[in-house]
Symmetry: C2
Subunit: 283 residues, 2 copies
């Protein structure tokens, strides 16, 4: 492992190793923490990599503790990478009012262009460039077989990154994603704050707009709880369904009666998603 | 549900309902919180009940969030009950130094006889009498089919309660249990503090002593991580193995290389334990 990446903790779980790591990011200019689960594997094996992007307020810890992904990853032979959701630390500007939906814990997976956020809020480049290099260097990862999933804001990240880099990601799925940030309050605040008020710049960070503008992938899987408090105002999965239908993208959108926005929902369907990813990663 | 039991939260997960509940306990004289998972079931069904007793510092929340039990409970049709580990609230005395291993979060599943603990620290009666009545009244529970498991201090609780009430509990298992509190520092402090220095009174709250004194059950299942920091000083599973061998109790003690004392260990083997319980609950 390169000197610059430090192991915070590493424990055995489901026959593999669940590690938390820390490094100084050149991209964000801050220390960054992420977690990686590596299943038991043959000495020379290279395993496919599933990226999981978390939602508002989360760090790498939420899914690592509550996501219930290790059993299926061990069974299917998948490395599971969970990054943080924003830069953090002294000197990293936050939401002026300390709100949960902007700033710390709310990087929205974009490279900010607006002061004072442009210096550190570079989550797009961090997730698509810097962290993949580290994963490829430090773990038994087959970087030709990657897939991406996420929850809420992280579902937005998974969809926009996956749609932008369809050659890299063999599977893309999301739990309760923000599908059209340009059309909802969370997105107005975040994209306006990080990218400025010229909405043309927002389209590269809006899954529905990306599809309207020509982005194509073979298939998407989305689970959405019907008892999710954010469904109507912030998530609006029907907008994704409409865009996919027009574009000929095979979207499986499963509305799940009774489920909310929490990890009690995510963990229920995590194994389904991992099996869906594994089929495409191993095709 | 009786007026006295209030639902703090209830969410859908793995097709069932994961609830957190609150009530005023007559036994402890405090408010108590517990969690219950009820799988999806036929309208008139009564389901077996698995009790899970948590370890030092825990509340009902740790296993509820990190225990990864819902998938197997849903599949096997098991109700899963997770109580708190001690009385709490204003007026409940704590360890004088605020240590983690006595007082709040560390009730050790005994009825204290020593002042100032005797007033509220009645976890034995709470777990064996008051809470079962609530579970039987409020949930579709078949109270003729109960089993018990626990972790660390809760493994101690599961073993001592199960060995004392073998007619009630069809299966007993533990993750990294304190098997002989009379012989280890955690136990000396807790049993001395709650029960006094007359060690005769400790034997009813020490699994190894209970077996030496004649308690008998058909079988026990214990998983123990070999990388557990508490293994040599506090847990000493070989003492249970020796007692079970002499007594003719069929102990399955599985030493698990690489595993520590955390929920990363517990969650790995939770499904094994639930299947082992289900076999005995449905026999």
């Amino acid at each position: 492992m390169p000197v610059a990446v430090e192991t915070v903790s590493s424990v055995t779980s489901f026959g593999g190793e669940q590690a938390v790591l820390r490094h100084t990011s050149e991209v964000t200019g801050t220390e960054m923490i992420f977690s990686v689960f590596v299943p038991d594997h043959a000495p020379d094996a290279k395993l496919p990599v599933v990226w999981y992007l978390s939602g508002l307020t989360c760090t790498q810890a939420n899914v690592t503790e509550k996501g219930e992904f290790r059993r299926a990853c061990a069974e299917l032979g998948l490395i599971f990478v969970a990054p943080d959701t924003s830069p953090r630390g002294e000197g990293v500007p936050d939401d002026g009012d300390g709100a949960y939906d902007f700033g710390l814990g709310a990087g929205f997976y974009v490279d900010a262009t607006q002061d004072p956020f442009a210096q550190h809020y570079k989550m797009w480049s961090y997730i698509t460039e810097e962290l993949p290099e580290i994963i490829g260097d430090c773990f038994p990862a087959d970087m030709d077989r990657q897939s991406i999933m996420g929850h809420s804001m992280g579902g937005h990240g998974a969809l926009t990154i996956g749609l932008t880099l369809p050659e890299r990601f063999k599977a893309i799925s999301a739990f309760a994603p923000i599908v059209a940030p340009s059309q909802v309050p969370w997105g107005h605040k975040a994209l306006g704050g990080y990218l400025g008020e010229d909405r043309a710049a927002w389209r590269a960070h809006d899954a529905v707009a990306l599809i309207e503008d020509g982005a194509r992938v073979p298939a998407l899987l989305v689970d959405q709880g019907e008892a999710d408090n954010f469904l109507e105002e912030q998530l609006k999965p029907h907008l994704l369904a409409e865009a996919c239908e027009k574009a000929g993208i095979d979207l499986t959108l499963r509305m799940q009666p009774g489920y909310d926005h929490s990890y009690y929902f995510i963990s229920t369907f995590m194994e389904d998603h991992l099996h869906w990813h594994a089929e495409r990663l191993k095709a």
